[in-house]
């Protein structure tokens, strides 16, 4: 049985290596792992759900006209006094937990994606400049990066938020500041290797402008590891934001992300009303885990050394 399997693999693989666009090859390689495929489907599903949350959810949990305190802390599956069924229960204000989770997911994802994206741009630009110009700039940048990476991101974000106060923009700022260094270090490492290759030399000989060489020639070749780090950072940012909000230094109560929902449910949990805290937590876990499994597989596929 096992032997037959390896034989077929041997036959098909070289063929698919010859024809086919690199992207298609990558996807077919990626889909070989069942877990990763399922995780990817879940990940895109969550993105869609979060994007269309106002259309899907049965109520806007932050429109006071739509919620009624009479339906407060109902257990999952119970019917409210107007006959609506709350599949995941309600919180103390009578908010439908399912709707609250959908809206919370939106905020969590928005923060994760935007801070990941900004950190990517900021870190990549600095790392690329350091690698390209080298010398004192490089030494200075790498010293700062080393110093920053020796402290946990959580601690840096915590201190920044203690100083800045609460708010979405402040949380995003703190997350970018605490995560840019990962990008800078990665892109610098790759760029230093790429810089020595012939195509950069050729571009130099053609007297192309520095800007063109850096962004059109060097940057695209540094992208693969950056994509992986970027995805990891989005997952980390979502988890970090939830943690910061739980600690009471993240988002204000008016913009409840998943972390804040969990935190709000904490006191009710001790009296047995588990659903206010548990379901947002599961939503958070599924989101972060699906992104992490996706990235894990992406890393494997993009790194040819691991394919043995």
């Amino acid at each position: 049985m096992r032997r037959a399997k390896t034989v077929t693999k041997f036959k098909i693989k070289p063929q698919s290596n010859i024809d086919g666009h690199p992207f298609r090859l990558l996807t077919s390689n990626f889909l070989e792992s069942k877990t990763a495929t399922i995780a990817t489907v879940i990940m895109f599903g969550i993105l869609l759900i979060a994007f269309f949350a106002p259309l899907i959810s049965s109520q806007n949990p932050y429109d006071l006209a739509q919620i009624t305190i009479l339906d407060g802390t109902l257990a999952p599956g119970l019917k409210g006094h107007q006959g609506t069924t709350y599949w995941l229960g309600t919180d103390d204000q009578g908010r439908d937990m399912l709707s609250a989770i959908l809206y919370g997911l939106r905020i969590s994802l928005a923060i994760g994606l935007s801070s990941g994206f900004l950190a990517l741009i900021f870190g990549t630009a600095i790392g690329l400049l350091a690698a390209y110009y080298g010398g004192k700039l490089d030494v200075l940048v790498m010293r700062i990066v080393d110093l920053q990476l020796s402290f946990p991101a959580l601690l840096i974000a915590l201190v920044l938020l203690a100083i800045l106060g609460r708010g979405i923009d402040k949380v995003i700022f703190a997350l970018v500041i605490s995560q840019w260094a990962y990008f800078a270090r990665t892109v610098r490492g790759t760029a230093l290797v790429e810089k020595k290759k012939e195509y950069i030399e050729a571009a130099n000989c053609l007297a192309l402008s520095t800007k063109r060489i850096m962004f059109r020639h060097l940057l695209p070749n540094c992208m693969p590891p950056l994509i992986v780090i970027g995805a990891v950072n989005v997952a980390n940012a979502i988890a970090l934001e939830a943690t910061l909000s739980f600690l009471g230094v993240g988002l204000p109560i008016t913009e409840p992300s998943l972390g804040l929902l969990i935190s709000n449910g904490y006191e009710y949990m001790l009296s047995g009303q588990y659903w206010i805290s548990v379901f947002p937590g599961i939503a958070l876990l599924v989101t972060v885990a699906s992104i992490n499994i996706f990235t894990e597989r992406l890393r494997e596929v993009l790194n040819p050394r691991l394919e043995k």
Partner: protein, 322 residues
């Protein structure tokens, strides 16, 4: 070696100074602690005396110089809330955090190494894949939520373990330690387990990667062809070679644990440094915030130094003299 240590000492002093400057200016931009400390209905006169007594009427740079003068003598200022030296407050709480972090690290190492070895040797089998998928979960589980779930399951539903606090402690050299009493141990299990999940996942992954790599190397093939037992190959030949990255990561992770203890301590009301910093941030207790950060920086510097030195001990090829 001496040159290396001296250079590191000089670097550390510079880092500490830069951090103190950054943190001091940053923290002193937060709100007005007097509003938190004095009854808002008290007269203007009372307010002004309080401000003067705390030294808050002077310009920032004067305050910083006063702070620096005290800091080189080991005095990081008095806490506004507890009215005692901030440094003393932190050193009182430090043992609890260290105990929590050490226990978590122990769990991570003693569970993570065997699981990682199994996953590495059987990477294609269901067990290996299962361990690796679980390790991704370990990365993804939000620390505080796991803590909450543990409390819900083991404390509230099953009633096996206490929800919060540190329990009974035993005094050793004047430091309270809780893992020596049964009650203390009961209080320790859940927080330590919660905190250990992240380093556990990391150690599993590192060990697995290391085992897979060394398994293909010549010396393992040679050991196998000599007919050595599996146990000997794994415990002597493989383990020795994968220990270096594991030790490095363990060291660095220990620092991370001290930071993540902030979260775990908040969930379990564990009376450590992390709980103190969150309270201080909420009460704007500036001296404690500054002192906490400087103590953390010192701990990190020490950990990095130990890791770098251990590196050259474990692998003689790594020189530290540069």
């Amino acid at each position: 070696m001496t040159v290396f240590l001296v250079r590191r000492m000089i670097q550390s002093v510079i880092i500490l100074w830069v951090m103190s400057l950054l943190v001091f200016t940053g923290v002193y931009a937060i709100g007005n602690p007097v509003d938190m400390l004095i009854d808002p209905q008290s007269s203007q006169e009372v307010r002004e005396t309080a401000i003067r007594n705390l030294g808050l009427d002077r310009p920032l740079w004067v305050q910083y110089i006063v702070f620096l003068k005290g800091a080189v003598r080991g005095n990081l200022g008095n806490s506004f809330i507890y009215n005692m030296p901030a440094l003393k407050l932190i050193t009182q709480r430090l043992p609890a955090t260290l105990e929590l972090a050490t226990s978590a690290m122990m769990i991570a190492i003693f569970v993570g190494l065997p699981l990682g070895i199994v996953a590495g040797l059987k990477s294609k089998s269901a067990i290996g894949r299962g361990i690796m998928t679980c390790s991704i979960l370990g990365f993804s589980l939000p620390n505080f939520w796991v803590g909450l779930m543990f409390v819900m399951i083991f404390s509230i539903t099953l009633g096996w373990l206490p929800t919060s606090g540190r329990g009974e402690t035993v005094e050793i050299f004047g430091i309270g330690i809780s893992f020596l009493t049964i009650d203390g141990l009961k209080h320790l299990i859940l927080p330590a387990l919660t905190l250990s999940l992240f380093p556990l996942a990391l150690i599993i992954r590192l060990t697995k990667a290391g085992v897979e790599e060394t398994w293909l190397s010549e010396f393992v093939k040679f050991a196998r062809s000599k007919g050595l037992t599996m146990n000997r190959i794994i415990l002597v030949h493989i383990l020795k070679n994968i220990l270096i990255p594991v030790v490095t990561v363990t060291g660095i992770q220990f620092g991370m644990l001290l930071a993540f203890a902030v979260v775990t301590e908040t969930v379990f009301a564990w009376p450590g440094m992390g709980k103190l910093i969150i309270d201080s941030i909420n009460y704007l207790d500036r001296p404690v915030i500054v002192a906490y950060l400087l103590v953390t920086v010192i701990i990190f510097i020490i950990i990095n130094l130990i890791v770098d030195t251990l590196y050259s001990v474990l692998d003689p090829r790594v020189g530290i003299g540069e």
